[in-house]
């Protein structure tokens, strides 16, 4: 196990005590791409900050390749690379120098640092922008420089915090490719995201977290199977007074597995929406049906199943 997290908690004291991480246990195997999926405020960033020595845990331990991050932070930092959510490139240095001096901080000689920087600039298609300053780069390019810089000292694990936040779709795809290429170099990747597509298509295993707790863990495929990923059909209604009777009526409908009453209508779980839609519309119309939303089986529906909430809520 390259990353081992045991009984991790983090409480922020203050006027309002906030339990950001509430007993998380997980371990990441060498060479895998591991996703922490959850809504904003679920404790993903705090977990990653603790694992990368930038936040002190309230209790629990994190070990990177056997090195305890609280006891030996300086050693742990040799084993990890970090790409934070925000752009932390050194604004006073060029792109090349950002990578070059990063290597120097990690003890590379001038020659080694120069060679490694040139190599990474080529690998990440940044060679033409080597003399540019971070402020002259687009979000996608800056993100690529940050990844290149983070792996410059050849860490065993790379932590990516919300890597696609603020990226346009094209840059996001480029970033996904870059992350997948890291696997070929044997770098383990731990990423946080609240985009379920990202967790689904990138990760070998996903941990779903909410309110500082881990709700489920497994490959995206396994999660969908275990939690009976179903099509979720959300029916928004104008008249909510008879909603209970609508729900019980719908439960007897063939193809419907479960029905939940939510604040603005009902949520229908089914194996597929084929043929069912017409029936649902018919049944819901007398209740003032005003909107229908269909979510095909995905980590999103797994999340809804687990928490009764939408990832975006």
């Amino acid at each position: 196990m390259i990353v081992e997290i045991e009984a991790l908690t983090k409480v922020y004291e203050g006027k309002q005590q906030v339990k950001a991480v509430d007993g998380i246990d997980l371990s990441v195997q060498a060479g895998e791409i591991f996703g922490l999926l959850g809504p904003n405020g679920a404790g993903k960033t705090t977990t990653i900050s603790i694992a990368t020595t930038r936040t002190m845990p309230t209790s629990g331990t994190v070990r990177i390749a056997g090195v305890d991050v609280v006891q030996h932070p300086a050693e742990a930092r040799r084993l990890i690379g970090v790409v934070p959510q925000y752009n932390t490139l050194d604004r006073s240095l060029t792109i090349y120098e950002n990578i070059y001096y990063h290597c120097r901080y990690f003890g590379f000689s001038h020659g080694q640092a120069r060679e490694r920087s040139d190599e990474l600039l080529t690998q990440f298609l940044l060679a033409e922008r080597r003399k540019a300053y971070p402020s002259q780069l687009s979000g996608g390019l800056a993100q690529r420089v940050q990844i290149a810089r983070a792996i410059a000292h050849r860490p065993a694990v790379l932590f990516l915090d919300e890597p696609s936040a603020g990226l346009d779709p094209q840059s996001r795809l480029a970033m996904w490719n870059a992350v997948q290429d890291l696997r070929k170099e044997g770098i383990t990747v731990v990423l946080t995201t609240h985009y379920m597509e990202e967790a689904d298509s990138l990760s070998d295993r996903v941990a779903i977290v909410d309110h500082g707790r881990m709700l489920a863990l497994g490959s995206p495929q396994k999660l969908k199977e275990t939690f009976g990923a179903q099509t979720v059909i959300h029916l928004a209604l104008r008249h909510l007074d008879q909603v209970e009777s609508l729900a019980s009526g719908l439960r007897n409908q063939s193809g419907v597995q479960n029905v939940e009453v939510v604040s603005d209508g009902v949520r229908v779980f089914s194996t597929s929406s084929e043929g069912l839609l017409q029936e649902l519309v018919h049944a819901a119309s007398p209740h003032g049906l005003r909107d229908i939303a269909i979510a095909e089986p995905s980590l999103e529906t797994v999340f809804i199943q687990l928490t009764g909430r939408d990832l975006r809520e």
């Binding site: 900050s49 990368t52 020595t53 930038r54 936040t55 002190m56 390749a65 056997g66 090195v67 030996h72 932070p73 300086a74 050693e75 930092r77 040799r78 084993l79 970090v82 934070p84 925000y86 752009n87 932390t88 490139l89 050194d90 604004r91 006073s92 240095l93 120098e97 950002n98 001096y101 990063h102 120097r104 901080y105 990690f106 003890g107 810089r149």
Partner: protein, 271 residues
């Protein structure tokens, strides 16, 4: 997997890497650096030791018997040292701690976080020393009556310069990590100006004996010991505080400010 042992070589390399980074950044800013360092002593010497003596009733310190230039030289060196410490540490830190969090990559280097802060102090102390030395030739050429420093006690000058420069860097660190980036502009009016004017820069401490309460209060101002220390090293003809008081005071203030600065820095980068 084997446990990685922290090795001293790596620590040294990391430290040197951080220094080289700062040197690179400074080398690009050499023009602004020289202006920042040179403008104040240049104008001070020009106005008070060249322009004023040419006017009727001239030198403000004419009655003391010692040329005002001799009093001003160590004082301006002290200001140069303190000013460099604040501009080289506090101002950059406030941006690096700000929205960009640029400091993060350096904090993530394979060394204890305190090393990053100590490097800031050491690098700024080099700038402080250059700034202080630059005042000497100005004092020889600008004043109507040139001031020649007495460098017989060069060892004392070296000790005072090193301690003072580190002290100024530590003060910069403490200010930069305690004051929020939003208020950093205020630092000049509420910290730098008072400690300069009440730092025995433009007058020796002994001359304050007529205003006893002020003479006692300024003892809490570290700049006093920088000015007086330099005074006894560079212009021994001007009466100054004894070295056996100045040196322990500089060490004491250095210790306090380093502790304060490191604590503030750690609090800023580790939550």
């Amino acid at each position: 997997m084997n446990k990685v042992n922290p090795d001293r070589m790596l620590l040294l390399k990391t430290f040197l890497g951080l220094m080289q980074r700062d040197l690179r950044v400074l080398s690009r800013e050499i023009g602004p650096f020289l202006l920042r360092v040179g403008m104040q002593p240049l104008l001070f010497l020009f106005v008070f030791t060249f322009v004023m003596p040419h006017m009727a009733g001239g030198s403000p310190m004419a009655a003391t018997g010692v040329g005002f230039g001799s009093i001003l030289l160590p004082g301006l060196m002290a200001v140069a040292i303190m000013f460099s410490g604040i501009s080289a540490v506090a101002l950059p830190l406030s941006t690096e701690f700000g929205i960009t969090r640029e400091i993060d990559d350096r904090v993530m280097c394979p060394a204890p976080v305190a090393v990053v802060a100590i490097e800031k102090i050491v690098f700024s102390s080099l700038q402080s020393m250059l700034a202080a030395l630059a005042v000497i030739p100005m004092a020889m050429f600008i004043p109507a009556t040139p001031v020649y420093p007495d460098l017989h006690r060069w060892w004392l000058l070296a000790i005072v310069m090193i301690l003072s420069s580190l002290l100024a860097g530590a003060m910069g660190l403490a200010i930069g990590s305690i004051v929020s980036p939003k208020h950093i502009g205020l630092v000049f009016s509420i910290i730098v100006v008072p400690i300069t004017f009440l730092g025995c820069v433009y007058y020796p401490w002994a001359y304050l004996d007529k205003i006893r309460w002020l003479q006692v209060i300024v003892l809490f101002n570290p700049i006093v010991y920088i000015s007086e220390g330099l005074r006894s090293a560079v212009t021994p003809q001007v009466h100054s505080m004894p070295v056996w008081i100045v040196l322990p005071a500089l060490v004491g203030f250095l210790y306090i400010l380093v502790r304060f600065g490191l604590r503030g820095f750690l609090r800023r980068v580790i939550s």
